[in-house]
């Protein structure tokens, strides 16, 4: 019961944040809306016993990544008015029609065939950091190591694109 109430509250928060993120004209509001969504997702992780993931969600996404976003917004400048004119005139109606079709598809599927074929095993989900630690370095060792490649790309790519000026000199 408590979980249901919490779910409803934070589902509304998550949707509100997401809509704000897309809708707000001021990019700072967009970033804050996204942050609300991130926090709400962290609550969902907790209610699904993903404790470690929830903490990571708050630390990395709501913390570090949001800082990055705010820096980028400041970089571009919040003083600029957003230009909302579009080169393709029918974009918005088309998007709405497609969205409605997608929603209809989800509803039909949900009513008719939306059952998962797999019944979960009886063991309870264990999302504590100890459980994650012991599985991350055993079963999931290779993806973990390959993540280091992603981080190298991030550093090299950032420095190649942002640190050098167009002529290849440091600046």
């Amino acid at each position: 019961m408590v979980e249901l109430v919490l779910f409803v509250i934070f589902a509304i928060c998550a949707l509100f944040g997401a809509v704000t993120m897309v809708w707000a004209r001021n990019p700072v509001y967009s970033a804050l809306g996204l942050m609300l969504t991130m926090f709400s997702l962290a609550v969902f992780y907790v209610s699904n016993a993903g404790h470690f993931v929830a903490v990571v969600q708050v630390i990395v996404y709501a913390g570090a990544v949001m800082t990055l976003f705010l820096f980028v917004i400041m970089l571009i400048g919040v003083d600029k008015a957003e230009d909302r004119s579009e080169t393709l005139p029918l974009q918005r109606p088309a998007a709405l029609v497609l969205l409605a079709l997608f929603a209809a598809g989800v509803l039909v599927a949900g009513a008719r065939a939306w059952t998962t074929g797999y019944t979960a095993p009886g063991e309870a989900v264990n999302g504590t950091i100890e459980a994650i630690g012991s599985r991350l370095f055993d079963t999931w060792l290779l993806p973990f190591e390959v993540t280091a490649l992603l981080l190298i790309i991030a550093a090299a790519g950032t420095i190649a694109l942002a640190f050098f000026r167009g002529d290849g000199e440091e600046g």
Binding site: F144, E145, A148, L151, I152
Partner: protein, 138 residues
């Protein structure tokens, strides 16, 4: 762990919210409201600002934030290893060692590239304007 264990966090959030709302309300209610043109200036004494203070940040902030995210993620993984340090034993240590080595390499690379160097524009300006005969040190 159960959902109940998160109650202290929820209470803390509630307290923070209450504190913010109550302080704003109280200051609205208690504080005397008597504006004069001088009080509405950004600075009551000093130069009247001529332009909007909202400015663009230099791209360097982005660079630092990106590097911060990278090493933040590294810490998250290290944390997961540290709590299981004994159970994982040498294989875990080697696994984390390889990962950390790759990231230390990234740090050395970023450092030596000068990505953490804040004052390059000043140095360059100095070189160009003040002392053009000095060659930029590598």
């Amino acid at each position: 762990m159960a959902l109940v264990d998160y109650l202290p966090i929820a209470i803390m959030f509630a307290l923070a919210l209450v504190f913010a709302v109550v302080s704003l309300l109280l200051s609205r209610l208690i504080a005397p409201h008597d504006p004069t043109p001088e009080k509405l200036e950004p600075y009551e004494c000093g130069i009247v600002p001529l332009q909007d203070p909202v400015q663009r940040f230099p791209v360097r902030f982005y660079l630092v934030a990106m590097l911060f995210v990278i090493f933040d993620i590294e810490i998250v993984f290290l944390f997961a290893w540290a709590v299981q340090f004994e159970a994982l034993g040498w294989p875990g240590t080697i696994a984390v060692g390889v990962f950390t080595l790759l990231l230390v390499e990234t740090l050395v690379y970023a450092w030596r590239r000068g990505a953490l160097d804040w004052n390059i524009p000043h140095r360059e300006r100095y070189r160009r304007v003040v002392a053009p005969e000095i060659e930029e040190a590598a």
